[in-house]
Amino acid sequence: MKLTFDNTSMDLTPSGKSYRAKIGDDVFDVEIIRADAERGQLDLLIEGKHVIAYVSSDGAKRWVTVNGRTCLLTKSSRAISYSKSKRGGAGHDHASELAAPMPGQIRAVNVGAGDAVKKGQTLLVLEAMKMEIRIQAPRDGIVSSISVKVGQTVEREQILIEVVERLES
């Protein structure tokens, strides 16, 4: 069975009571000692070493804690291509759409459409959880569109503003 998490692919083959996990050229012998569904806990023997892991899943996302360290993995399948489809495909390489990192309310709009902006300049101020989050220009460029106004409530990932590269002429 072939599985891919983030950019790492793995071949997992049952072998008697245990499994063989092949990642690149490395092969690991893995045995499941116990699984506790309620706690999402897996007790494993990986190359003879006892490892306690906690795994939770949410769609394609996997939250995994091993040895007290937590990481978030994304499982990819052949059906879903790995490209970030929303973030400007071909032909939009010179545009940056800035999205709200979290839900909140727009507190200030410091620029207007058509303004030239410098990398790092604060374009918008979003307030979320009583904190101000500054939305800054990722590059030098021109503001091509602003999709929000002061006081507006926005959702996570909602596009707020677009900055395009200044055309050299």
């Binding site: 069975m1 599985l3 998490f5 983030d6 790492t8 793995m10 997992l12 049952p14 009571k17 245990s18 499994y19 996990a21 990642i23 690991f28 893995v30 499941i32 116990r34 699984a35 506790d36 569904a37 309620e38 706690r39 999402g40 897996l42 494993l44 990986i46 490892v51 892991a53 906690y54 795994v55 939770s56 899943s57 949410d58 769609g59 996997r62 939250w63 995994v64 804690t65 091993v66 040895n67 007290g68 360290r69 937590t70 990481c71 978030l72 993995l73 499982k75 990192p101 979290m102 839900p103 507190r107 101020v125 307030e127 979320a128 959880m129 009583k130 904190m131 101000e132 989050i133 500054r134």
Partner: protein, 495 residues
């Protein structure tokens, strides 16, 4: 006379912490909640609960009229405000009093006198408590520029009505001053309804050391030693401990006396905290502000001093005399608190929201967990993303650090990004172990990056997908059609 019923005007872990104290004292509890919190633990923990309104704090936890109404409707005879929200709102204390409800905290006058950072600074100067060089009452852009030049960069802009790092900006140079002043003003106006600012010297390598004070209505006032709170991000504390590794017995006595003097200046009673900026090079300290409420980090003091601060808040509010004097108190062992936040340390500590897919708190000797969440709880963007406080107590600092490291390793929270791994790396760092962490250490010296997923993590994720016949899970029969994921139908495992 002891109260029969107390309304807790707060949410999350602190509401539950206060309700525990009430239960131990045989007092009935009333929870208030917003629509976002209807399934929260603090609601089910209370004897009664009252819905306040929409999730926005203004419609719920900051709405004085609705909270006073709820207290009257349920026949509560006192209100505990917790921390944050209305805890330092003098009008709330005054309105509670005029509704014949006891406000569990200091007098409205004390709150007012200390709540204004500009006024309190002036009165501390008068009382002879050392304060940070700076100016109050400035208005124009030019005034701020002139003041900043006179003080010398870096400077700190903060809200006169402020607290909790809101409306606060460190400014390194004049080029950034105007934007910082405007941002601080907006944040202050929005958070406190008051946009006055003050400016002062920013002490770059300073430590934050605060003293717990406690007094009764009869005029007895003591301090309960210090808390070292220098591990901060966004000007907010994340790790606190007591005793401070920096203080000598002599400094401890001097600062304790200054704290009591500061509190006496405003006729303080109940629990309060006097915050100092401490310069480790010169061993000098300055009054920063006084928090006229229970502090998030109060548990470390409780463990080292051996006093239940919340119970005593309730008892002195009911008129009981505080039976102890300064010489009755000493510090025993060492305590550390870690605040577990739903936030992403790798991207500016932005709060992380979502449903807790898994949530397992650590247990063990010398370990206390104050928490307001459980598996399945929703972390929303409406309120502070504090999930839980881990507090450990041990014989000395190094064993307390080890105990905390073990507790953090055993804390499982999935579904939101947390600062657990980040705090483990702080505790393991030489600077922390040496007690050499200033309030700017996280942003200037500790360049943290999350570790790459380990091979073990990848293997575990893969096995969770395919977990087959060797699983001893209590899942339904392994001959079921979905034999490759026998445990996915279990509660608490999958969203």
């Amino acid at each position: 006379m002891m109260f029969k019923k107390i309304l807790i005007a707060n949410r999350g872990e602190i509401a539950i912490r206060i309700m525990r104290a009430c239960k131990e004292l045989g007092i009935q509890t009333v929870a208030v909640y917003s629509e976002a919190d209807k399934n929260s633990l603090h609601v089910s923990f209370a004897d009664e609960s009252v819905l306040l309104g929409a999730p926005a704090p203004k419609e719920s936890y900051l709405n004085i009229d609705k909270i006073i109404d709820a207290a009257k409707k349920t026949n509560a005879d006192a209100i505990h405000p917790g921390y944050g929200f209305l805890s330092e709102n003098a009008s709330f204390a005054a309105e509670a009093a005029s509704a014949k409800l006891t406000f569990i905290g200091p007098s409205a006058d004390s709150i007012r006198a200390m709540g204004d950072k500009a006024e309190s600074k002036t009165s501390m100067k008068k009382a002879g408590v050392p304060t940070v060089p700076g100016f109050e009452g400035l208005e124009s852009k030019e005034d701020f520029e002139k003041a900043a030049r006179e003080i010398g960069y870096p400077v700190l802009i903060k809200a006169a009505a402020g607290g909790g790092g809101k409306g606060m900006r460190v400014v390194e140079s004049e080029a950034d001053l105007t934007e910082a002043v405007e941002g601080a003003r907006r944040e202050a106006l929005n958070a406190f309804g008051d946009d006055r600012l003050l400016i002062e010297k920013y002490l770059a390598d300073a430590h934050h050391i605060e003293f717990q004070v406690f007094g009764d209505r009869q005029g007895n006032l003591v301090h309960l030693f210090e808390r070292e709170c220098s591990v901060q991000r966004r000007h907010q504390k994340i790790i606190e401990e007591t005793p401070s590794p920096l203080l000598t017995p002599k400094l401890r006595t001097q600062m304790g006396e200054a704290a009591v003097k500061a509190a006496k200046t405003v006729n303080y009673y109940n629990a309060g905290t006097v915050e100092f900026v401490f310069d480790p090079q010169l061993s000098t300290f300055y009054f920063l502000e006084m928090n006229t409420r229970l502090q998030v980090e109060h548990p470390v003091t409780e463990l080292v001093v051996g006093l239940d601060l919340v119970q005593w808040q309730i008892r002195v509010a009911a008129g009981e005399r505080f039976p102890f004097t300064q010489k009755d108190f000493s510090q025993r062992g060492h305590a550390i608190e870690c605040r577990v936040y739903a936030e992403d340390p790798a991207s500016g500590f932005l709060p992380s929201t979502g449903k807790l897919l898994q949530y397992i708190e650590p247990r063990g000797p010398g370990l206390r967990v104050d928490s307001g969440f459980a598996a399945g709880s929703e972390v929303t963007h409406f309120y502070d993303p504090l999930l839980a406080k881990l507090i450990v107590h041990a014989e000395d600092r190094s064993s307390a650090i080890q105990r905390m490291q073990s507790a953090l390793r055993d804390f499982i929270a999935h579904g939101v990004t947390t600062n657990i791994d980040f705090m483990q790396d702080v505790l393991a760092h030489d600077d922390f172990q040496n007690g050499d962490v200033s309030t700017r250490w996280v942003e200037t010296k500790f360049n943290w990056q999350p570790a790459e997923p380990s091979v073990e993590a990848l293997i575990a994720a893969a096995l969770a997908e395919t977990a087959g016949s060797s699983l001893k899970s209590n899942a339904p029969g392994l001959d079921e059609p979905d034999r490759f994921s026998p445990w996915k139908n279990q509660n608490g495992f999958r969203n």
